[in-house]
Structure formats: C-alpha cells, structure tokens
C-alpha cells in the first residue's frame, strides 16, 4: 500500500510539471465508464498498444486498467477484472456471448480475436458491465474492426514477424474494399511458436502453439442505416499448457453474425441496432506429447451458442437520455472424457454433462444531465434464465449424488447508479454504487469430477447454487489537461453467496493422485477491494508517457486471503519520437511480492519482479513499409507472476522484428 502511495504521488508530481502548448496533443481521453458505451473508438492507450503488430490480444488486455491474466499456458490466458474471473464476467465479441468448450478454461473467448481484427476493447468493471449480461465482475467487449466506407477503393496491410525467444513467427494480412454502397474487410492471421526459453536459457516444455484466424465482414448501406454480416474462423492446434497435465490438440471456433443498425430515426429512438448470431467452439485436450502419463485420455468438448440482441438509444426526453438492450442467448455444452487403461476397457464419462442455459435479459439505462457539470446515470438489468440438464449419460451420472432436476429456473437482477461531476475544467470525479447478481455457470452447476491442477482437487457441480450477489462502490478521480490524463479509482465489493469450493471429506477423489473432492457452494461472503491508477501524458511534441497500476485485495468469510488475487503491479511506457515516423520506447512491467496467498488452493508466495523492454518503431505513412523491432525482458530475468499456475517461468529475453507493408 505504501509503495503504491509513493508511486501515486510521484505520478501526480508529473502532473504538476510545467508543460508547453504544442500543436499536436493527445487526441482522445481515457474513456471513463460513463462515457464508454457511447463510443466504439479505441482510447489512446489501446491505439498505442495496437501499434505493436506482434502483440496478442491477451498481451493487450494485461495492460488495460483493472485487467489481469491467469496464465496456464503461453497462449490462452484467462482475463480477470479486479479479482473476478470466468462466470463472474461477461467476455463478449461485438456484444455476442460466447462460452468456452474446455473444462480447464484453456479457451477463453479472447483467443479468437487477433489485434488485427480489433477496433477496441471496452472494459467495464463491476455492474457497469451489466449492459451485456448479468455480472458481478464486469465485462470485456472486444469490438471487431468494421468495414470502412472510404474513398480509397482498396487498401490493406501485409506483415510478417519473428520472435527469437520461441523461434516464433507471425504473418498477417488485412484489407478493406469499399464502394459507394458497400464495404468489405478481411483478415488473415497465422502464428506459430515453439517452446520458449525462460530467463537464464532454460527451455520451457509445452509452451508451443500454432493457429490460424480468418475473418470476413461486409457492410451495406440502406436508406436509414446499415446491414452488416461477419464470419470468423479460428483454428488452433498443438497448443501447449505447461501448467496443466494436458495440452490442446485442437481448438476450433466459428462465429457468424448479421446485424442491422438503424440511424437517423425520427420516432422514439435516435439509433438502434439488432443482431442475430451463432458461434461454436470445438475443443479437445491432448496428452499424447506428455511423458509419465498415468493413463492416456481423450477430452473433447463442445460449446454452441445462438443469440440475438436489440439495443438502442432514445432521443433525449428533457434532460434524460434513455438507452436499452434486450438480449437472449442459448448455450449448449458437452465435455467428455475417455480414459484408456493399460489393461482393460476404456472408461467414458461426461465432465460437463450435456446441458444448456437459456437466458433472456433486459437492460435499461438513463443518463440524466443535472446541470452543465453533473451527470447522473442509473441502470437496471433483469435476467431470466433456464438451466437444462439433458437426458442421457450425463443426467444418469448426476443421479449418483441424489435426485437431480432436469431443469431449473433462476433470475438475476442488477441496479446501479453513478454520478459524474466536473469539479472544474480539469478535474472530474465519478462515484458509482451498484448491486448486482450473477448466475452460476453451467460448470459450477453441473460439473462432474473436474480436476483442478492448482489445488489438486476434483470439483463437483452443485445444481442448487443460487446467484452470487455483489454490493459495490467505486470512486474515481480524473485529471484532464491538454497534455495529460491521470486517473485514480478505488473499488470495494461486498460479495454474498460467493461461489466458493467446499471440501467434501466423505467423498473420495476420482483422478489418481488428487487430494480429494470439492463442491461449489454459495459460501457466506467475500470482500474485494482495490485501487487502479492510470496516466497518459505528453511532453513537448516528442515525448509520451503511459502508465497503469493496479492493486487488489480479496478476503474470504474467514478473513483468509482469496486465491488468485494479483499483487500490486503496474507498467510504465516511455515513448520518444525521434522523427515523426520513428519512435523509441522503453517499458517496465513490475509487480510487488505477493504475500497474501491461500495454501488451500495450492498457492505460494511470489517474488517481486521488474522486466524491461526496448522498442524501436518506424511507421509508414498512408502507404509503405513499417518496421518494429525490439527486445523484451531486456535483462533476461527468470520470473513468473502470481497468477501464473504452476509457477512456470515466463519468457526470457526476446528479440523480435516485425515488417508490415501498407498498400
């Protein structure tokens, strides 16, 4: 905490430094949660990160305010917002709900989006994220690049890159074709990495991956709006997960969506859009590359979702601006396991029984302008959901624990209010209060002997789980000037019926070597709190600084530390423009020691670390070649972050180079 305060004051002191008034200053401000819905634009920080063509979407997420990543493998890291993950978050692509097909969470939805197809990522912590679904943790919405209507008929980019630490290559192309009435874009992305070397030179096994991503989108103008259609296909194979006992043999995702946007309305609405979508994920785990396998097993999983939503904004009614969203999705999952003993017959079971959730939700929000300097935003969301356990082997399995209902119905509600006040031309304060529920996930309801490598327990689902409830408050103070934006925000969440595992001593584990069995239960309570800080500043025409820091603390009902809570960590990026098109950048990523950990979940203390990077970039203009190169983990430090399962070391010194040609 003290360390944070020191950094904070140092940061603030920058804010008070004298700045001259140059011609070009920072283009956009950090989007606060109140203004974020209005825009699809990437904020300055994201545009900054998108400029690094080798970066993956997950690497980008890790640098955003409030976001951490749980790392089980070098690709396929699971996002976390302010200490909350998975079923507590909405992770969507263009507003579409998508659910992983892997019981071990090796396939978070963020792996299907490449930075090449990203327009922006909208991260809304807490109940502010409830526009997109019932949530206590917030939402991450990855907005895909839409086809552009531009006077240039056809333009695009071709690029290739190499990363020495894993002998990895990436190649990509994207392009936009536009006519008067229609526009199309495509993107193609290929990545291949071998095992990487950690600091000190040790090769870390099972960190390889290979994948291909293709997207195609079309947009057509109508009299009053646009039709758009897009498809995405993402195939990954041979993806290593060093922290888990198995790797990914293949992961295939398919997404298709059709949307209609209506602008310039005369009736109630100022704009509305409607979308219908489908996505499916086929995932299979693979242990054939592992040595010392006690028993070979196949673990295929499938998750299919169909959904639709209609959202819009009304014309102002007095000082009120209403917006709404009504959405529906149906998600069907099945995860199977076949084990092959040396002597004997194969054993088949369903770790996620064939089951489904249907969810219908309604969201309404009002932004009320109190006066020139104050705005009040209030929103409510209501979800009605059905959980279905389909007849068959999965249902029969569940009967070993007693009678099970074929279906159950649940509701989730959320209500939030926020006040944004412009204290003066430079200072803005924002205070949000919210109460929200989130529905338990299908894995938490129906999972059957899911082995958790981190704590060594087999997890059983609990069909009687009720919604997790959160009462939260957050306060943010932001300072804006022509050349600087600084923002500090703190949050406090009181969680009730927190979904947390309980060890069942009367049941024996199924996985050989497991410590026992745990059941998901609504435990008494938990508290999460933290502070986030971010800074963007420019000095003169040439110098830019970006920095973000986060600190979280989680406490369970018995005042013990919650598992998987990151320590105080942050990054600083210094960028210097040698010429208009040539820039150098120095970065530091650091984390403090994490002493607050939970041994019952297999955690241990994690040492503090700081890693540095140097980057050099030459951007082309509208056409031409861009080059980026640099060194990451400059001093080849061997380290891992607290959220890295199995304490697997992160990559060591990486020299990389990227070429891209814009045509």
């Amino acid at each position: 905490m003290l360390r944070f305060l020191v950094v904070f004051f140092v940061g603030l002191s920058f804010a008070h430094a004298q700045v001259t008034v140059p011609v070009d200053s920072l283009p956009t401000r950090l989007l606060s949660s109140i203004t974020i819905q209005a825009s699809r634009e990437a904020d300055t920080l994201q545009r900054f990160l998108l400029a690094n063509k080798a970066m993956t979407t997950e690497e980008m997420l890790a640098k955003l305010q409030g976001v951490s990543l749980i790392r089980r493998g070098s690709y396929g890291q699971e996002p976390m917002i302010q200490g909350m993950t998975s079923g507590q978050l909405n992770v969507t692509i263009d507003g579409m709900k998508m659910f992983g097909a892997c019981t071990d969470k090796m396939d978070p939805v963020s792996i299907y989006v490449e930075p090449q197809n990203l327009q922006s990522i909208a991260v809304q912590p807490g109940a502010q994220g409830s526009r997109l679904g019932s949530t206590v943790g917030g939402s991450i919405n990855m907005q895909l690049l839409q086809p552009e209507f531009s006077p240039t008929k056809f333009g695009g980019i071709l690029g290739v890159g190499y990363q020495a630490v894993s002998s990895g290559i990436n190649a990509f192309t994207n392009g936009n074709y536009s006519t008067d009435k229609s526009a199309f874009n495509y993107s193609l992305n290929y990545r291949k990495a071998n095992n990487y070397r950690a600091g000190g030179g040790e090769e870390i096994a099972y960190t390889q991956y290979e994948k291909v991503n293709v997207t195609l989108a079309g947009k057509w103008k109508t009299k009053q709006g646009f039709w758009s259609a897009n498809v995405l296909a993402d195939d990954g194979w041979n993806i290593g997960f060093a922290a888990l006992p198995m790797d990914v043999g293949s992961a295939k995702a398919r997404i298709a969506a059709i949307e209609y946007e209506h602008a310039q309305c005369h009736g109630f609405f100022s704009a509305w859009s409607a979308k219908v979508y489908y996505n499916s994920v086929q995932h299979s785990m693979d242990d054939s590359h592992r040595e010392d396998v006690l028993m070979h097993m196949d673990m295929p999983g499938a998750s299919t979702t169909i959904g639709a939503f209609w959202e819009g904004k009304m014309h102002p009614v007095g000082k009120h601006v209403f917006s709404f969203r009504s959405d529906f999705f149906y998600n069907d999952v099945l995860a199977e396991m076949v084990m092959y003993p040396e002597d004997g017959n194969p054993m088949y079971m369903q770790t996620w029984p064939s089951s489904a959730r249907a969810d219908f939700g309604l969201f309404v929000e009002d932004t009320y302008t109190i006066n020139k300097t104050s705005k009040l935003k209030a929103s409510v969301r209501w979800d009605a959901a059905g959980n279905f356990l389909h007849e068959g082997i999965g249902f029969d399995q569940a009967l070993v624990f007693g009678d099970v209902e074929e279906h159950s119905f649940q509701q989730a509600k959320s209500i939030s209010a926020g006040l944004r006040k412009q204290l003066n031309t430079r200072l803005v304060v924002e205070w949000n209060l919210a109460y929200s529920d989130r529905l338990p996930s299908l894995s938490e309801l129906y999972g059957f002997y899911l082995f958790n490598r981190n704590d060594g327990y087999d997890y059983i689902g609990n069909p009687n789980l009720v919604t997790e409830k959160s009462a939260s408050s957050d306060l943010a103070l932001s300072f804006f000037s022509k050349h600087m934006e600084v923002s500090v925000s703190g949050f406090y969440k009181d969680l009730r019926d927190y979904i947390y595992p309980t060890t069942l001593t009367n049941l024996s584990a199924m996985t050989p070597g497991a410590n026992g069995v745990r059941l998901y239960e609504n435990s008494a309570s938990a508290v999460l709190m933290g502070l986030d800080f971010s800074l963007l500043a420019s000095f003169g025409k040439r110098f830019q600084i970006m920095s973000s820091m986060k600190s979280t603390r989680g406490i369970d009902a018995e005042s013990k530390a919650l598992p998987l809570i990151p320590p105080f960590s942050g990054n600083v990026i210094l960028k210097y423009f040698v010429l208009k098109q040539i820039s150098v950048q120095a970065e530091c990523d650091a984390a403090a020691q994490q002493d607050r950990y939970n041994t019952e979940f297999g955690e241990d203390a994690t040492s503090a670390y700081a890693v540095y990077a140097l980057r050099l970039q030459r951007e082309s203009g509208i056409k031409g070649i861009s080059v980026a190169c640099g060194v990451e983990n400059l001093f080849d430090k061997k380290y891992h972050a607290h959220l890295d399962w199995g304490n697997i070391p992160r990559p060591g010194r990486n020299i990389y180079v990227n070429f891209s040609y814009r045509f």
């Binding site: 028993m295 396991m337 084990m339 003993p341 040396e342 002597d343 004997g344 017959n345 194969p346 054993m347 088949y348 079971m349 082997i393 249902f395 029969d396 399995q397 569940a398 009967l399 070993v400 624990f401 007693g402 059957f448 002997y449 009367n506 049941l507 024996s508 584990a509 199924m510 996985t511 050989p512």
Partner: protein
C-alpha cells in the same frame, strides 16, 4: 354428398373390423428380448416345455423362464406347478446347484419365472441336465422334461465361492435386473450354502457391505446402497457407476465372527 357417404361407410367398416378382433391377435410377444435355450416334452404330463433365459446359460445366476404348451393342441398352459431339478453328471459323482422355482402357479405374461445358479460349466468335467417338473392343473397329470443344457464358463467370473474356517461352503452370484448404465443401478446378490451335493439353500443371515471401485484408477463411487436380504438368499442393493469401463464390486460378508471378502468384476460399456 356421395363422397361423405363413402367416407361414413369406410369408417363404419373400419370400426366393425377393429371391434371384431379376437383376443388372440392382440398379444405382446412374451419372450421379446429373451433367448430360447432348448425345449422338451414332459410326456407323462402331456406338456411341451420351452426353456428361455436372458442370455445363454453360464456359471452364475441365470434368470430363466418356462413356457408350457399342451403337447397335443399346442395351446399355452398358464396354470401349472413348475419346479426345477438341475443335475450335473460327472465321472465320479453327480451334484445339483442352487435354483429358485416359480413362486406362483399362474404364469406371468405366459411364462413361469425362476432361476438356476450353475456352479460349474459344461465340459470335460461333466454335463448338465435340467429336469423341469410340471404338474398340469388342467389335466391333473404330472411329468418331467429332461432338458440337456450347455453351461458356459465366462472369462470374467460371475460366480464366487468360499469355504469358511468351520468347513462350510458358500456360493455367491449377482444379477442386474435392468440393463446396466452409468448412474444408479439396482443389483441383487444371491448367497447359497452347500448343505449336501443336492441341496443348496439360500442364506439370509449375513450382513453385506459393498464398495465399488475402478481398479485401473483406484477410485470408487458415492452413495451406493449396501445389499440387504429380501428373501431366499437374495440381497438387494444399489451400485453407482460414475463412468463406463471396468469396475470391481468389493463385498464384505459378515455373520457373527465370520468375515469374508468377495469381489466381482463387471464391465460397463
């Protein structure tokens, strides 16, 4: 007009023909799903005997079903007293095995159900004959059909035996009343004591506890129900299979000071 007349006529004809169906034609095949083992004639009773079972006869508990027909008219006989007399003829001696006679003199679904628990297989050691004794209530005649049966010895044993310290010999077998599946399964264990070469009565005074496990993985399953005695040496319980594959049902039998461990290997596909 004419069309409706034709339709009405058609309907009338259909109705009449439906209602005039004789009872004999609306019969559900009583032996659906069963295998016919063999048949014979109990000459003195004037009865043709058919022996049916769930599968070919094996060493272990075999639920069997007897169908009776009048030897001359071939009409089914559903009221008779049926009893069994299994006998294995070996080189040096003969012996019987445990069995259950049909409890009722009225057929259930045209069949008389019982069971034979063969304790050895047919082969070099000897051969089995099953006497089916019939007291025909219609004709008041009695007779016996001597059926030759072949009893196979399964590779995975479905019959276990043990001898206690006091020299008593017991035989134990099991049966699943329904097709086995993942989840909860009813199961029955049969325990018989060998009194003599010819008499193997059911034993009901043991206490059984059951622990299923998968030997390949070393884990069990939750919420099984220990078998408890129902009647005539049959103990009913519930076994839970959490997945397909090879399972071992471990049983511990206790009576007073006597403690005996028995296991059966079962494969669920």
């Amino acid at each position: 007009m004419k069309l409706t007349n034709y339709l009405s006529l058609a309907m009338l004809v259909t109705c009449v023909s439906l209602f005039s169906c004789s009872e004999d034609e609306v019969v559900v095949d009583p032996t659906a799903g069963l295998t016919k083992i063999t048949e014979g004639i109990a000459t003195d009773a004037g009865v043709k005997v058919e022996l049916w079972a769930k599968e070919e006869l094996f060493v272990g508990y075999n639920p069997v079903f007897v169908a009776l027909y009048d030897a001359e008219t071939n009409k089914r006989i559903t009221d008779a007293h049926v009893s069994f007399g299994p006998l294995m003829t070996m080189t040096t001696m003969n012996h019987a095995c445990p069995f259950e006679n049909p409890t009722s003199e009225n057929a259930t679904g045209y069949l008389f159900p019982g069971s034979i628990t063969f304790i050895m297989g047919s082969g070099d050691m000897g051969s089995w004959k099953l006497a089916v004794n019939v007291h025909n209530h219609l004709s008041e005649k009695e007779g016996s059909a001597e059926l030759d049966v072949v009893v196979s010895t399964p590779t995975v044993s479905r019959l276990k035996s043990f001898v206690t310290t006091t020299g008593e010999k017991y035989f134990m077998a099991y049966t699943f009343p329904d097709k086995t599946k993942v989840g909860v399964n009813d199961i029955s264990f049969m325990l018989y004591k060998k009194e003599t070469m010819m008499s193997f009565p059911g034993v009901g005074d043991f206490t059984m506890s059951m622990e299923p496990e998968m030997p390949a993985m070393g884990h069990g399953s939750p919420n099984n129900v220990n078998p408890t005695h129902i009647a005539n040496g049959a103990y009913a319980g519930k076994v839970n299979f959490t997945m397909t594959g090879d399972w071992r049902l471990n049983l511990q039998l206790t009576k007073g000071d006597l403690v005996q461990d028995v296991f059966f290997d079962v494969t669920l596909n």
